[in-house]
Protein backbone atom coordinates (compact mmCIF):
# COMPACT_ATOMS: atom_id res chain seq x y z
CA UNK A 1 0.00 0.00 0.00
CA UNK A 2 1.52 3.27 -1.07
CA UNK A 3 0.69 6.63 -2.51
CA UNK A 4 3.18 7.46 -5.25
CA UNK A 5 3.54 10.87 -6.86
CA UNK A 6 5.75 11.56 -9.87
CA UNK A 7 6.74 14.87 -11.40
CA UNK A 8 4.02 16.94 -9.75
CA UNK A 9 3.67 20.49 -10.97
CA UNK A 10 0.99 22.87 -9.74
CA UNK A 11 0.64 26.59 -10.28
CA UNK A 12 -1.72 28.75 -8.24
CA UNK A 13 -2.46 32.28 -9.45
CA UNK A 14 0.50 32.12 -11.87
CA UNK A 15 2.82 31.29 -8.98
CA UNK A 16 4.56 27.94 -9.01
CA UNK A 17 3.37 26.08 -5.90
CA UNK A 18 4.89 22.69 -6.75
CA UNK A 19 7.58 21.86 -9.29
CA UNK A 20 8.95 18.42 -10.13
CA UNK A 21 7.89 16.82 -6.85
CA UNK A 22 8.40 13.04 -6.51
CA UNK A 23 7.31 11.42 -3.28
CA UNK A 24 6.10 8.08 -1.91
CA UNK A 25 3.88 7.82 1.13
CA UNK A 26 4.40 4.25 2.25
CA UNK A 27 2.31 1.96 4.41
CA UNK A 28 3.56 1.62 7.99
CA UNK A 29 5.51 4.87 7.97
CA UNK A 30 4.91 8.44 9.03
CA UNK A 31 6.24 10.77 6.34
CA UNK A 32 6.67 14.35 7.52
CA UNK A 33 6.39 17.33 5.18
CA UNK A 34 8.48 20.23 6.46
CA UNK A 35 9.55 23.56 5.01
CA UNK A 36 8.92 27.28 5.47
CA UNK A 37 5.52 28.97 5.06
CA UNK A 38 4.43 28.91 1.43
CA UNK A 39 6.81 26.08 0.53
CA UNK A 40 3.92 24.03 -0.87
CA UNK A 41 3.22 21.57 1.97
CA UNK A 42 -0.55 22.09 2.01
CA UNK A 43 -0.76 22.16 -1.79
CA UNK A 44 1.16 18.89 -1.95
CA UNK A 45 -1.18 17.27 0.58
CA UNK A 46 -4.23 18.47 -1.38
CA UNK A 47 -2.82 17.09 -4.64
CA UNK A 48 -1.91 13.80 -2.93
CA UNK A 49 -5.42 13.62 -1.50
CA UNK A 50 -6.89 14.08 -4.96
CA UNK A 51 -8.92 17.16 -4.00
CA UNK A 52 -6.70 19.36 -6.16
CA UNK A 53 -5.51 18.25 -9.60
CA UNK A 54 -1.87 18.80 -10.59
CA UNK A 55 -1.12 20.70 -13.81
CA UNK A 56 1.15 17.82 -14.73
CA UNK A 57 2.47 14.71 -13.05
CA UNK A 58 0.67 11.70 -11.64
CA UNK A 59 -0.51 10.35 -8.32
CA UNK A 60 -1.11 6.61 -7.99
CA UNK A 61 -2.65 4.80 -5.05
CA UNK A 62 -0.98 1.42 -5.47
CA UNK A 63 -1.41 0.82 -9.21
CA UNK A 64 -4.53 2.92 -9.74
CA UNK A 65 -4.21 6.50 -10.95
CA UNK A 66 -6.01 8.74 -8.47
CA UNK A 67 -7.92 10.38 -11.31
CA UNK A 68 -9.54 7.04 -12.16
CA UNK A 69 -11.33 6.84 -8.80
CA UNK A 70 -14.73 8.39 -8.10
CA UNK A 71 -14.63 11.09 -5.41
CA UNK A 72 -16.28 8.76 -2.87
CA UNK A 73 -13.97 5.83 -3.67
CA UNK A 74 -10.99 8.17 -3.41
CA UNK A 75 -12.25 9.48 -0.06
CA UNK A 76 -12.58 5.92 1.28
CA UNK A 77 -8.94 5.14 0.45
CA UNK A 78 -7.38 8.49 1.33
CA UNK A 79 -8.40 10.44 4.41
CA UNK A 80 -7.35 14.09 4.35
CA UNK A 81 -7.48 16.48 7.30
CA UNK A 82 -7.23 20.04 5.99
CA UNK A 83 -5.63 22.69 8.12
CA UNK A 84 -8.43 25.20 7.97
CA UNK A 85 -11.53 23.18 8.82
CA UNK A 86 -14.22 25.70 9.66
CA UNK A 87 -16.99 24.13 11.73
CA UNK A 88 -20.16 25.95 10.74
CA UNK A 89 -22.80 24.47 13.02
CA UNK A 90 -22.58 23.44 16.69
CA UNK A 91 -22.82 19.74 15.92
CA UNK A 92 -22.21 17.23 18.69
CA UNK A 93 -18.71 15.82 18.98
CA UNK A 94 -19.88 12.41 17.88
CA UNK A 95 -21.59 13.83 14.78
CA UNK A 96 -18.35 15.55 13.77
CA UNK A 97 -16.43 12.29 14.01
CA UNK A 98 -19.27 10.42 12.24
CA UNK A 99 -18.67 12.64 9.19
CA UNK A 100 -15.57 10.53 8.63
CA UNK A 101 -17.88 7.63 7.75
CA UNK A 102 -19.67 9.60 5.04
CA UNK A 103 -17.48 8.18 2.23
CA UNK A 104 -18.69 4.73 3.37
CA UNK A 105 -22.27 5.80 2.73
CA UNK A 106 -23.14 6.44 6.37
CA UNK A 107 -25.38 9.36 7.27
CA UNK A 108 -25.83 10.71 10.80
CA UNK A 109 -28.99 8.65 11.17
CA UNK A 110 -27.68 5.61 9.36
CA UNK A 111 -24.50 4.49 11.11
CA UNK A 112 -24.08 0.74 10.76
CA UNK A 113 -22.52 -1.22 13.62
CA UNK A 114 -19.21 -1.13 11.73
CA UNK A 115 -19.48 2.64 11.27
CA UNK A 116 -20.30 3.15 14.95
CA UNK A 117 -17.34 1.00 15.97
CA UNK A 118 -14.98 2.98 13.74
CA UNK A 119 -16.26 6.22 15.25
CA UNK A 120 -15.78 4.88 18.77
CA UNK A 121 -12.24 3.68 18.00
CA UNK A 122 -11.27 7.04 16.51
CA UNK A 123 -12.60 8.89 19.54
CA UNK A 124 -10.76 6.63 21.96
CA UNK A 125 -7.48 6.97 20.03
CA UNK A 126 -7.69 10.76 20.11
CA UNK A 127 -8.93 10.94 23.69
CA UNK A 128 -12.15 12.64 22.59
CA UNK A 129 -14.72 10.10 23.81
CA UNK A 130 -15.71 12.52 26.57
CA UNK A 131 -16.80 15.10 23.97
CA UNK A 132 -19.29 12.80 22.21
CA UNK A 133 -22.34 14.66 23.46
CA UNK A 134 -20.75 18.10 23.82
CA UNK A 135 -21.57 20.79 21.28
CA UNK A 136 -18.72 21.94 19.09
CA UNK A 137 -19.07 25.57 20.20
CA UNK A 138 -18.62 24.54 23.84
CA UNK A 139 -15.18 23.05 23.18
CA UNK A 140 -11.79 24.76 23.23
CA UNK A 141 -9.75 25.17 20.06
CA UNK A 142 -7.52 22.29 21.11
CA UNK A 143 -10.47 20.01 21.86
CA UNK A 144 -11.96 20.86 18.46
CA UNK A 145 -8.64 20.09 16.73
CA UNK A 146 -8.54 16.65 18.36
CA UNK A 147 -12.14 15.95 17.30
CA UNK A 148 -11.27 16.89 13.72
CA UNK A 149 -8.33 14.50 13.84
CA UNK A 150 -10.73 11.83 15.11
CA UNK A 151 -12.94 12.61 12.10
CA UNK A 152 -10.02 11.85 9.78
CA UNK A 153 -9.16 8.63 11.65
CA UNK A 154 -12.78 7.42 11.63
CA UNK A 155 -12.67 6.92 7.86
CA UNK A 156 -10.09 4.15 8.52
CA UNK A 157 -8.57 4.76 5.10
CA UNK A 158 -5.36 3.19 3.78
CA UNK A 159 -3.74 6.59 3.48
CA UNK A 160 -3.95 9.39 6.05
CA UNK A 161 -2.85 12.91 5.06
CA UNK A 162 -2.85 15.43 7.88
CA UNK A 163 -2.14 19.14 7.59
CA UNK A 164 -0.68 20.77 10.73
CA UNK A 165 -2.55 18.71 13.33
CA UNK A 166 -0.58 20.19 16.22
CA UNK A 167 -0.97 23.90 15.45
CA UNK A 168 -3.68 24.61 18.06
CA UNK A 169 -2.47 22.13 20.67
CA UNK A 170 -0.48 22.50 23.87
CA UNK A 171 2.65 20.33 24.22
CA UNK A 172 0.82 17.49 25.94
CA UNK A 173 -1.76 17.17 23.20
CA UNK A 174 0.89 17.68 20.51
CA UNK A 175 2.56 14.54 21.78
CA UNK A 176 -0.80 12.79 21.96
CA UNK A 177 -1.72 13.72 18.38
CA UNK A 178 1.66 12.62 17.03
CA UNK A 179 1.41 9.37 18.98
CA UNK A 180 -2.03 8.79 17.44
CA UNK A 181 -0.47 9.16 13.98
CA UNK A 182 2.31 6.72 14.91
CA UNK A 183 -0.30 4.21 16.06
CA UNK A 184 -2.04 4.57 12.69
CA UNK A 185 1.26 3.90 10.88
CA UNK A 186 1.86 0.82 13.03
CA UNK A 187 -1.60 -0.45 12.03
CA UNK A 188 -0.33 -0.34 8.43
CA UNK A 189 -1.68 3.03 7.35
CA UNK A 190 0.45 5.21 5.08
CA UNK A 191 0.65 8.50 6.98
CA UNK A 192 1.83 11.90 5.78
CA UNK A 193 1.81 14.95 8.02
CA UNK A 194 2.72 18.57 7.39
CA UNK A 195 4.55 20.01 10.39
CA UNK A 196 6.09 23.29 11.46
CA UNK A 197 7.58 21.86 14.64
CA UNK A 198 10.88 20.33 13.51
CA UNK A 199 11.51 18.71 16.89
CA UNK A 200 8.26 16.77 16.58
CA UNK A 201 9.16 15.95 12.98
CA UNK A 202 12.55 14.60 14.08
CA UNK A 203 11.07 12.39 16.79
CA UNK A 204 7.87 11.05 15.28
CA UNK A 205 8.53 10.75 11.53
CA UNK A 206 10.24 7.87 9.74
CA UNK A 207 10.94 9.97 6.71
CA UNK A 208 10.94 13.66 5.98
CA UNK A 209 10.38 15.67 2.83
CA UNK A 210 11.92 19.13 3.01
CA UNK A 211 10.15 21.48 0.62
CA UNK A 212 11.18 24.97 -0.36
CA UNK A 213 9.50 27.12 -2.99
CA UNK A 214 7.58 24.14 -4.29
CA UNK A 215 10.57 21.90 -4.90
CA UNK A 216 12.00 19.02 -2.90
CA UNK A 217 15.24 20.04 -1.22
CA UNK A 218 15.74 16.72 0.55
CA UNK A 219 13.81 13.49 1.04
CA UNK A 220 15.08 10.85 3.44
CA UNK A 221 15.46 9.92 7.09
CA UNK A 222 15.10 12.72 9.67
CA UNK A 223 18.87 12.52 10.32
CA UNK A 224 19.61 13.12 6.62
CA UNK A 225 17.06 15.86 6.08
CA UNK A 226 17.38 17.84 9.31
CA UNK A 227 21.02 18.81 8.69
CA UNK A 228 22.00 22.36 9.49
CA UNK A 229 23.05 23.13 5.90
CA UNK A 230 19.75 21.92 4.42
CA UNK A 231 17.72 23.77 7.06
CA UNK A 232 19.73 26.95 6.46
CA UNK A 233 19.03 26.69 2.72
CA UNK A 234 15.32 26.07 3.27
CA UNK A 235 14.48 28.47 6.09
CA UNK A 236 17.27 31.04 5.96
CA UNK A 237 17.76 30.27 9.64
CA UNK A 238 20.75 28.87 11.52
CA UNK A 239 19.74 25.85 13.60
CA UNK A 240 21.51 24.04 16.42
CA UNK A 241 20.93 20.31 16.71
CA UNK A 242 20.28 19.10 20.24
CA UNK A 243 20.82 15.41 20.78
CA UNK A 244 17.96 13.65 22.50
CA UNK A 245 17.13 9.95 22.63
CA UNK A 246 19.07 9.23 19.44
CA UNK A 247 17.46 12.11 17.52
CA UNK A 248 18.95 15.45 16.56
CA UNK A 249 16.30 18.02 17.44
CA UNK A 250 16.71 21.30 15.51
CA UNK A 251 16.48 24.47 17.59
CA UNK A 252 16.28 27.78 15.67
CA UNK A 253 19.14 30.06 16.70
CA UNK A 254 19.30 33.08 14.43
CA UNK A 255 17.83 34.40 11.22
CA UNK A 256 20.41 34.83 8.48
CA UNK A 257 20.72 38.28 6.94
Amino acid sequence: MALIARGLRRTLDHRVALEGVDVEIVSGMVTGLVGPNGAGKSTLLRVLAGIDAPDSGTVHVDDAPLSSLTPMARARRISHLPQAAQPQWPLSGRDVVSLGRLPHGAGFDRLSAADADAVDRAMVRTGTAAFAMRRLDQLSAGERARLLLARALATEADVLLVDEPTAALDPGYQLEAMTALRVEAERGVAVAVALHDLALAARFCDRLLLLTEGTVLRFGTPADVLATDALKAAYGVTFALVAFDGHGLPIPVSRDQ
Partner: protein, 337 residues
Amino acid sequence: MKPVRRWGWTLFALPVAVLAVISVVVGPAGLPWGTAIRDILSGHDSVPALVVLEIRLPRALLGAVVGAALGLAGAAMQGLLRNPLAEPGVLGVSACAAFGAVIAFYTGLVRLFPGALPIAAIAGALLGTAALFAWAGRGATVATLLLVGVAINALAGAATAFGLALSPNPYAFYEVMFWLMGSLADRSLDHVALALPCVLLGAVPLLMMRRSLDGLSLGEETALALGIMPATVARWIGLGTALTVGGAVAVSGVIGFVGLMAPHAVRPFVGYRPGATLIASAGAGAALTLAADIVVRVLPTGRELQLGVMTALLGAPFLGWLAIRRRTNGSGGTPWL
Protein backbone atom coordinates in the same frame (compact mmCIF):
# COMPACT_ATOMS: atom_id res chain seq x y z
CA MET B 1 -30.48 19.02 23.19
CA LYS B 2 -30.45 15.51 21.78
CA PRO B 3 -31.50 15.10 18.17
CA VAL B 4 -35.11 14.09 17.83
CA ARG B 5 -35.58 10.53 16.59
CA ARG B 6 -38.28 8.12 15.42
CA TRP B 7 -41.49 9.97 16.24
CA GLY B 8 -39.69 13.30 16.12
CA TRP B 9 -41.33 14.27 12.85
CA THR B 10 -44.70 14.54 14.61
CA LEU B 11 -43.21 17.47 16.49
CA PHE B 12 -43.19 19.37 13.21
CA ALA B 13 -46.16 17.74 11.44
CA LEU B 14 -48.65 18.16 14.27
CA PRO B 15 -48.58 21.98 14.43
CA VAL B 16 -48.98 22.11 10.63
CA ALA B 17 -52.07 19.90 10.77
CA VAL B 18 -53.61 21.86 13.65
CA LEU B 19 -52.93 25.22 12.01
CA ALA B 20 -54.29 23.99 8.68
CA VAL B 21 -57.56 23.05 10.39
CA ILE B 22 -57.70 26.43 12.16
CA SER B 23 -57.00 28.11 8.81
CA VAL B 24 -60.03 26.37 7.29
CA VAL B 25 -62.21 27.31 10.24
CA VAL B 26 -61.20 30.98 10.47
CA GLY B 27 -62.74 33.42 8.04
CA PRO B 28 -64.77 36.60 7.74
CA ALA B 29 -68.08 34.81 7.18
CA GLY B 30 -69.55 32.75 9.99
CA LEU B 31 -70.30 29.34 8.55
CA PRO B 32 -73.07 26.90 9.40
CA TRP B 33 -70.58 24.07 9.83
CA GLY B 34 -73.18 21.33 10.20
CA THR B 35 -74.69 22.17 6.82
CA ALA B 36 -71.27 22.68 5.22
CA ILE B 37 -69.93 19.28 6.25
CA ARG B 38 -73.17 17.48 5.36
CA ASP B 39 -73.27 19.12 1.91
CA ILE B 40 -69.59 18.40 1.25
CA LEU B 41 -70.04 14.74 2.12
CA SER B 42 -73.19 14.40 0.01
CA GLY B 43 -71.62 16.33 -2.90
CA HIS B 44 -74.29 19.05 -2.72
CA ASP B 45 -73.02 22.42 -4.05
CA SER B 46 -74.50 24.64 -1.37
CA VAL B 47 -72.97 28.02 -0.51
CA PRO B 48 -71.41 26.86 2.80
CA ALA B 49 -69.88 23.82 1.05
CA LEU B 50 -68.46 25.99 -1.73
CA VAL B 51 -66.99 28.50 0.74
CA VAL B 52 -65.10 25.67 2.46
CA LEU B 53 -64.00 23.83 -0.68
CA GLU B 54 -63.23 26.73 -2.99
CA ILE B 55 -62.08 29.47 -0.63
CA ARG B 56 -60.99 28.16 2.77
CA LEU B 57 -59.43 24.86 1.77
CA PRO B 58 -57.24 26.19 -1.09
CA ARG B 59 -56.01 28.95 1.18
CA ALA B 60 -54.99 26.51 3.92
CA LEU B 61 -53.39 24.13 1.42
CA LEU B 62 -51.49 26.96 -0.25
CA GLY B 63 -50.32 28.25 3.12
CA ALA B 64 -48.85 24.84 3.89
CA VAL B 65 -47.33 24.31 0.43
CA VAL B 66 -45.84 27.79 0.07
CA GLY B 67 -44.59 27.84 3.65
CA ALA B 68 -43.01 24.41 3.35
CA ALA B 69 -41.35 25.43 0.07
CA LEU B 70 -39.88 28.57 1.64
CA GLY B 71 -38.77 26.77 4.82
CA LEU B 72 -37.13 24.01 2.81
CA ALA B 73 -35.39 26.39 0.40
CA GLY B 74 -34.18 28.58 3.26
CA ALA B 75 -32.69 25.62 5.11
CA ALA B 76 -31.02 24.33 1.94
CA MET B 77 -29.47 27.72 1.16
CA GLN B 78 -28.28 28.19 4.73
CA GLY B 79 -26.77 24.71 4.66
CA LEU B 80 -25.07 25.16 1.30
CA LEU B 81 -23.75 28.65 1.99
CA ARG B 82 -23.08 27.76 5.64
CA ASN B 83 -24.60 31.05 6.47
CA PRO B 84 -27.42 31.78 8.92
CA LEU B 85 -28.66 34.79 6.95
CA ALA B 86 -29.10 33.05 3.61
CA GLU B 87 -32.73 33.08 2.51
CA PRO B 88 -34.48 33.32 -0.86
CA GLY B 89 -36.28 36.55 0.15
CA VAL B 90 -33.31 38.29 1.73
CA LEU B 91 -30.96 37.33 -1.12
CA GLY B 92 -33.27 38.34 -3.96
CA VAL B 93 -34.21 34.93 -5.35
CA SER B 94 -37.88 35.55 -4.55
CA ALA B 95 -37.69 39.02 -6.11
CA CYS B 96 -36.27 37.48 -9.29
CA ALA B 97 -39.08 34.92 -9.32
CA ALA B 98 -41.60 37.76 -8.93
CA PHE B 99 -39.95 39.57 -11.83
CA GLY B 100 -40.36 36.44 -13.96
CA ALA B 101 -44.02 36.22 -12.99
CA VAL B 102 -44.62 39.91 -13.81
CA ILE B 103 -43.06 39.36 -17.24
CA ALA B 104 -45.45 36.47 -17.77
CA PHE B 105 -48.38 38.74 -16.81
CA TYR B 106 -47.44 41.57 -19.12
CA THR B 107 -46.41 39.65 -22.17
CA GLY B 108 -49.72 37.83 -22.03
CA LEU B 109 -47.95 34.49 -21.68
CA VAL B 110 -50.26 33.69 -18.76
CA ARG B 111 -53.28 33.87 -21.06
CA LEU B 112 -51.73 31.37 -23.46
CA PHE B 113 -51.45 28.62 -20.82
CA PRO B 114 -51.70 28.77 -17.03
CA GLY B 115 -48.41 26.91 -16.48
CA ALA B 116 -46.57 29.90 -17.97
CA LEU B 117 -46.79 31.72 -14.62
CA PRO B 118 -44.81 29.23 -12.51
CA ILE B 119 -42.46 28.51 -15.42
CA ALA B 120 -41.62 32.20 -15.76
CA ALA B 121 -41.23 32.54 -11.98
CA ILE B 122 -38.93 29.50 -11.88
CA ALA B 123 -36.87 30.93 -14.74
CA GLY B 124 -36.53 34.18 -12.81
CA ALA B 125 -35.56 32.32 -9.65
CA LEU B 126 -32.96 30.28 -11.57
CA LEU B 127 -31.46 33.50 -12.87
CA GLY B 128 -31.39 34.83 -9.29
CA THR B 129 -29.66 31.78 -7.79
CA ALA B 130 -27.18 31.64 -10.67
CA ALA B 131 -26.29 35.32 -10.18
CA LEU B 132 -26.05 34.81 -6.43
CA PHE B 133 -23.65 31.84 -6.61
CA ALA B 134 -21.62 33.43 -9.40
CA TRP B 135 -21.19 36.81 -7.72
CA ALA B 136 -20.89 35.78 -4.08
CA GLY B 137 -19.20 32.41 -4.49
CA ARG B 138 -20.01 29.61 -2.09
CA GLY B 139 -17.45 30.43 0.56
CA ALA B 140 -18.65 34.02 0.80
CA THR B 141 -18.64 35.86 4.11
CA VAL B 142 -21.94 37.07 5.53
CA ALA B 143 -21.11 40.61 4.42
CA THR B 144 -20.36 39.62 0.80
CA LEU B 145 -23.46 37.49 0.59
CA LEU B 146 -25.74 40.22 1.91
CA LEU B 147 -24.17 42.80 -0.41
CA VAL B 148 -24.82 40.57 -3.40
CA GLY B 149 -28.33 39.91 -2.09
CA VAL B 150 -28.97 43.66 -1.85
CA ALA B 151 -27.74 44.07 -5.43
CA ILE B 152 -29.92 41.26 -6.78
CA ASN B 153 -32.96 42.47 -4.83
CA ALA B 154 -32.43 45.99 -6.17
CA LEU B 155 -31.96 44.80 -9.75
CA ALA B 156 -35.01 42.55 -9.70
CA GLY B 157 -37.06 45.25 -7.97
CA ALA B 158 -36.04 47.86 -10.52
CA ALA B 159 -36.76 45.55 -13.43
CA THR B 160 -40.16 44.72 -11.96
CA ALA B 161 -40.95 48.41 -11.39
CA PHE B 162 -39.94 49.13 -14.97
CA GLY B 163 -42.30 46.42 -16.17
CA LEU B 164 -45.07 47.87 -14.02
CA ALA B 165 -44.44 51.42 -15.26
CA LEU B 166 -45.06 50.22 -18.80
CA SER B 167 -48.42 48.90 -17.69
CA PRO B 168 -51.18 50.36 -19.89
CA ASN B 169 -53.87 49.59 -17.35
CA PRO B 170 -53.82 51.17 -13.84
CA TYR B 171 -56.06 48.44 -12.42
CA ALA B 172 -53.70 45.74 -13.59
CA PHE B 173 -50.92 47.82 -12.02
CA TYR B 174 -52.61 47.82 -8.61
CA GLU B 175 -53.46 44.19 -8.87
CA VAL B 176 -49.84 43.22 -9.50
CA MET B 177 -48.58 45.60 -6.82
CA PHE B 178 -50.73 43.85 -4.23
CA TRP B 179 -49.82 40.46 -5.57
CA LEU B 180 -46.15 41.34 -5.24
CA MET B 181 -46.58 42.03 -1.52
CA GLY B 182 -47.45 38.40 -0.99
CA SER B 183 -50.87 37.05 -0.14
CA LEU B 184 -52.90 33.86 -0.07
CA ALA B 185 -56.29 35.58 -0.33
CA ASP B 186 -58.73 34.66 -3.11
CA ARG B 187 -56.76 31.67 -4.34
CA SER B 188 -58.36 28.56 -5.80
CA LEU B 189 -57.46 24.90 -6.09
CA ASP B 190 -56.06 25.79 -9.54
CA HIS B 191 -53.32 27.72 -7.75
CA VAL B 192 -52.59 24.69 -5.61
CA ALA B 193 -52.37 22.60 -8.77
CA LEU B 194 -49.88 25.09 -10.24
CA ALA B 195 -47.62 25.37 -7.21
CA LEU B 196 -47.65 21.86 -5.76
CA PRO B 197 -45.91 20.02 -8.66
CA CYS B 198 -43.15 22.64 -8.82
CA VAL B 199 -42.58 22.47 -5.08
CA LEU B 200 -42.57 18.67 -5.00
CA LEU B 201 -40.25 18.51 -8.00
CA GLY B 202 -37.89 21.03 -6.39
CA ALA B 203 -37.94 19.20 -3.06
CA VAL B 204 -36.43 16.11 -4.70
CA PRO B 205 -32.94 17.53 -5.44
CA LEU B 206 -32.95 19.48 -2.16
CA LEU B 207 -33.68 16.38 -0.06
CA MET B 208 -31.22 14.31 -2.11
CA MET B 209 -28.49 16.71 -0.94
CA ARG B 210 -29.17 16.01 2.76
CA ARG B 211 -25.98 14.07 3.40
CA SER B 212 -23.89 16.34 1.22
CA LEU B 213 -25.05 19.28 3.32
CA ASP B 214 -24.00 17.37 6.45
CA GLY B 215 -20.63 16.82 4.80
CA LEU B 216 -20.32 20.56 4.18
CA SER B 217 -20.64 21.31 7.93
CA LEU B 218 -16.87 21.53 8.36
CA GLY B 219 -16.29 23.68 5.28
CA GLU B 220 -15.63 22.97 1.62
CA GLU B 221 -12.09 21.63 2.13
CA THR B 222 -13.35 18.91 4.44
CA ALA B 223 -16.31 18.23 2.14
CA LEU B 224 -13.90 17.66 -0.75
CA ALA B 225 -11.85 15.34 1.46
CA LEU B 226 -15.05 13.38 2.19
CA GLY B 227 -15.68 12.88 -1.53
CA ILE B 228 -18.35 15.56 -1.85
CA MET B 229 -18.13 17.97 -4.77
CA PRO B 230 -19.41 21.33 -3.50
CA ALA B 231 -19.92 22.65 -7.03
CA THR B 232 -22.28 19.76 -7.82
CA VAL B 233 -24.14 20.26 -4.56
CA ALA B 234 -24.53 23.96 -5.40
CA ARG B 235 -26.01 23.16 -8.82
CA TRP B 236 -28.62 20.77 -7.43
CA ILE B 237 -29.53 23.11 -4.60
CA GLY B 238 -29.73 26.05 -7.00
CA LEU B 239 -32.12 24.07 -9.21
CA GLY B 240 -34.21 22.84 -6.26
CA THR B 241 -34.40 26.32 -4.76
CA ALA B 242 -35.49 27.84 -8.06
CA LEU B 243 -38.25 25.23 -8.49
CA THR B 244 -39.61 25.47 -4.95
CA VAL B 245 -39.32 29.25 -4.61
CA GLY B 246 -40.47 29.86 -8.20
CA GLY B 247 -43.51 27.65 -7.71
CA ALA B 248 -44.36 29.32 -4.40
CA VAL B 249 -43.86 32.90 -5.60
CA ALA B 250 -45.92 32.25 -8.75
CA VAL B 251 -49.06 31.72 -6.66
CA SER B 252 -48.44 33.76 -3.53
CA GLY B 253 -46.16 36.66 -4.46
CA VAL B 254 -43.17 37.44 -2.28
CA ILE B 255 -43.53 36.17 1.29
CA GLY B 256 -40.22 37.06 2.86
CA PHE B 257 -38.36 35.92 5.96
CA VAL B 258 -40.16 32.56 6.35
CA GLY B 259 -37.09 30.81 4.94
CA LEU B 260 -34.94 32.79 7.34
CA MET B 261 -36.87 32.08 10.53
CA ALA B 262 -37.93 28.47 9.98
CA PRO B 263 -34.46 26.84 9.95
CA HIS B 264 -33.38 28.77 13.04
CA ALA B 265 -36.51 27.68 14.87
CA VAL B 266 -35.91 23.96 14.30
CA ARG B 267 -32.11 23.64 14.41
CA PRO B 268 -31.80 23.01 18.17
CA PHE B 269 -34.31 20.15 17.82
CA VAL B 270 -32.33 18.32 15.14
CA GLY B 271 -28.91 18.67 16.75
CA TYR B 272 -27.95 21.42 14.25
CA ARG B 273 -27.54 18.79 11.54
CA PRO B 274 -27.95 20.63 8.22
CA GLY B 275 -29.50 17.61 6.47
CA ALA B 276 -32.09 16.94 9.15
CA THR B 277 -32.87 20.66 9.28
CA LEU B 278 -34.38 20.49 5.78
CA ILE B 279 -37.59 18.56 6.48
CA ALA B 280 -38.03 20.05 9.95
CA SER B 281 -37.67 23.53 8.47
CA ALA B 282 -40.24 22.73 5.78
CA GLY B 283 -42.67 21.87 8.59
CA ALA B 284 -41.81 25.01 10.53
CA GLY B 285 -42.17 27.12 7.38
CA ALA B 286 -45.62 25.68 6.73
CA ALA B 287 -46.67 26.26 10.35
CA LEU B 288 -45.29 29.80 10.37
CA THR B 289 -46.99 30.75 7.10
CA LEU B 290 -50.32 29.23 8.14
CA ALA B 291 -50.13 31.03 11.50
CA ALA B 292 -49.26 34.38 9.89
CA ASP B 293 -52.07 33.92 7.37
CA ILE B 294 -54.54 33.24 10.19
CA VAL B 295 -53.35 36.35 12.03
CA VAL B 296 -53.87 38.64 9.02
CA ARG B 297 -57.44 37.39 8.78
CA VAL B 298 -58.37 37.86 12.43
CA LEU B 299 -56.62 41.23 12.89
CA PRO B 300 -59.25 43.97 12.78
CA THR B 301 -57.36 46.03 10.17
CA GLY B 302 -60.39 46.83 7.98
CA ARG B 303 -58.81 45.73 4.76
CA GLU B 304 -56.92 42.47 5.18
CA LEU B 305 -53.18 42.92 5.76
CA GLN B 306 -50.95 41.38 3.08
CA LEU B 307 -49.33 38.17 4.26
CA GLY B 308 -45.91 39.29 2.97
CA VAL B 309 -46.26 42.44 5.09
CA MET B 310 -47.06 40.32 8.14
CA THR B 311 -44.03 38.00 7.70
CA ALA B 312 -41.81 41.06 7.16
CA LEU B 313 -43.17 42.59 10.39
CA LEU B 314 -42.09 39.41 12.18
CA GLY B 315 -38.99 38.64 10.15
CA ALA B 316 -37.26 42.02 10.01
CA PRO B 317 -36.97 42.29 13.83
CA PHE B 318 -35.80 38.66 13.85
CA LEU B 319 -33.06 39.57 11.38
CA GLY B 320 -32.15 42.49 13.63
CA TRP B 321 -32.05 40.17 16.64
CA LEU B 322 -29.70 37.83 14.77
CA ALA B 323 -27.48 40.81 13.97
CA ILE B 324 -27.39 41.87 17.64
CA ARG B 325 -26.59 38.33 18.80
CA ARG B 326 -23.79 38.28 16.28
CA ARG B 327 -22.47 41.66 17.36
CA THR B 328 -22.53 40.92 21.09
CA ASN B 329 -20.92 37.55 20.39
CA GLY B 330 -18.08 39.65 19.06
CA SER B 331 -17.20 37.16 16.36
CA GLY B 332 -18.22 36.49 12.81
CA GLY B 333 -16.69 33.05 13.32
CA THR B 334 -19.71 31.50 15.03
CA PRO B 335 -22.29 31.57 12.28
CA TRP B 336 -24.93 29.74 14.31
CA LEU B 337 -24.87 32.78 16.63
